[in-house]
């Protein structure tokens, strides 16, 4: 036999609880029986409150005040016209056409990357959709393999003509938005080369990665260190034929 305190405690722990002891006490104690009825009635309201309409909540949340903080300006800018820095970069670009990445100075390398940043707008779309594995394989074919196990999702992949050759241009989902990644096979670096597009809120580096290097460009507030580390660890260059 259980007492009223135990009966009420057990019901508040689990209103659906039912056993011989609870049943016997409920039959014996009218006050506790009424208590049980109220708790079970309240439980229906609790359940209705907890099991809200997910679709409606997601739709409301998308436009409501509990959205995450606005993204950095890089993803709200209107692309139109070239800043002075890009004009300079564009002029510099003409000098690099026809030469491979291994022939370029670090300044020319950086200029080529920065000039390319707005050529594939799709790569800057904040998306959760990962690129298809087959597409990624095709883009990387002949240049590299990527072990994506410990990498942030790759959301974009395209072969782009930079540095006088076709190279993989990827987007990785960074903490603060899409991050542009360009693989530069065969171009060794001694130390990182900074990238900066301050008027667009973008920054990054071209980092050494064994027999090649990797250009990483994203929001200037991005957490680049772990991203660089993970990318360098994930990329394995394909030996040239």
């Amino acid at each position: 036999m259980i007492d009223c305190e135990t009966f009420r405690r057990r019901l508040l722990e689990d209103p659906a609880a039912s056993d011989a002891a609870l049943t016997a006490h409920s039959e014996r104690c009218a006050t506790c029986a009424a208590f049980a009825a109220r708790v079970r009635s309240a439980e229906r309201t609790i359940e209705a409150a907890l099991k809200f309409d997910v679709a409606a909540t997601r739709a409301a949340g998308a436009g409501s005040g509990d959205s995450p903080p606005p993204r950095t300006p890089a993803f709200r800018i209107a692309v139109g016209g070239l800043a002075a820095a890009l004009v300079v970069a564009a002029v510099a670009l003409y000098a690099v056409l026809g030469r491979g990445p291994e022939d370029l100075t670090t300044t020319e390398l950086a200029a080529a990357v920065m000039n390319h940043w707005d050529h594939d707008a799709e790569g800057w779309l904040p998306t959760r959709q990962e690129v298809a594995a087959e597409t990624l394989r095709e883009v990387l074919a002949g240049d590299a393999r990527i072990d994506a196990e410990n990498l942030e999702p790759i959301t974009f992949a395209r072969s782009c003509y930079l540095f006088g050759r076709w190279v993989p241009h990827l987007s990785v989902r960074g903490r603060d938005g899409p991050v542009m990644v360009v693989l530069i096979p065969g171009r060794r670096l001694e130390e990182p080369v900074p990238l900066e597009l301050a008027e667009y809120g973008l920054a990054g580096r071209i980092v050494p990665a064994g027999d090649g290097s990797i250009a990483i460009l994203g929001s200037e507030t991005e957490a680049f260190d772990p991203l660089e580390r993970d990318l360098v660890a994930a990329v394995e260059w394909t030996p040239p034929r």
Binding site: E5, R8, R9, L12, E13, D14, P15, F35, R38, V39, S41, A42, E43, T45, I46, E47, A48, A49, L50, K51, F52, D53, V54, A56, T57, R58, A59, A60, G61, A62, S64, G65, D66, S67, P68, P69, R128, E130, A132, A133, E134, P153, R175, A223
Partner: protein, 174 residues
């Protein structure tokens, strides 16, 4: 792209075991932080990781607890990376809180506000029990506390909530 048989089987297993839990998972994550956009992000990541790690699920009967463990970890990671401003439900304008309100049932509306106002340590076991139907033992495993703690928190959560619908139960304080 032609999928291999193994890939098809993997996807089928995911669709049968995990995909049906998505809405309840969203509700759980939403109640953890009361933020729809965070819930969206965390659920997306959780489902992605669950898909990749599905082969590690040996006991299909434990899929809920397994999925919830991933979600708790992803939710914690989300907040390690970002520090969004948490907003009190009373500060939300009517337009912003429309997903909390129901048109015809003020009791449910009042209950949602009361649940939101609960200490998160009390709210979480309640969500796990009511939304996911977990047993006390499963809740204890998911939250990494002992069963006695789970029972105490469930008791205290309901003691606060049952008064919301107007019943004077004259419940003694512990």
């Amino acid at each position: 792209m032609v999928q291999s048989r193994a890939e098809q089987a993997h996807k089928l297993r995911f669709d049968e075991l995990v995909a049906p839990l998505r809405d309840d998972l969203y509700r759980y994550v939403y109640w953890l932080g009361h933020n729809a956009a965070v819930a969206d992000d965390v659920v997306q990541e959780t489902m992605l990781r669950a898909f990749r790690a599905l082969d590690t699920l040996e006991d299909e009967g434990a899929v809920k607890a397994w999925l919830l463990t991933i979600a708790r970890r992803e939710h914690a990671r989300w907040y390690e990376r970002k520090r969004p401003e948490m907003r009190d439900v009373d500060d939300l304008s009517p337009a912003e809180s429309k997903h909390l309100a129901t048109e015809h049932d003020t009791d449910v509306d009042d209950m949602r506000r009361a649940i939101t106002a609960l200490d998160p340590a009390y709210r979480e076991p309640l969500v796990l029990q009511v939304v996911f139907g977990l047993t006390t033992a499963e809740i204890a495993t998911t939250m990494q506390v002992n069963q006695g703690t789970v029972l105490t928190r469930l008791h205290r959560a309901r003691k606060k909530l049952v008064d919301i619908v107007g019943a004077d139960l004259r419940i003694e304080e512990d």
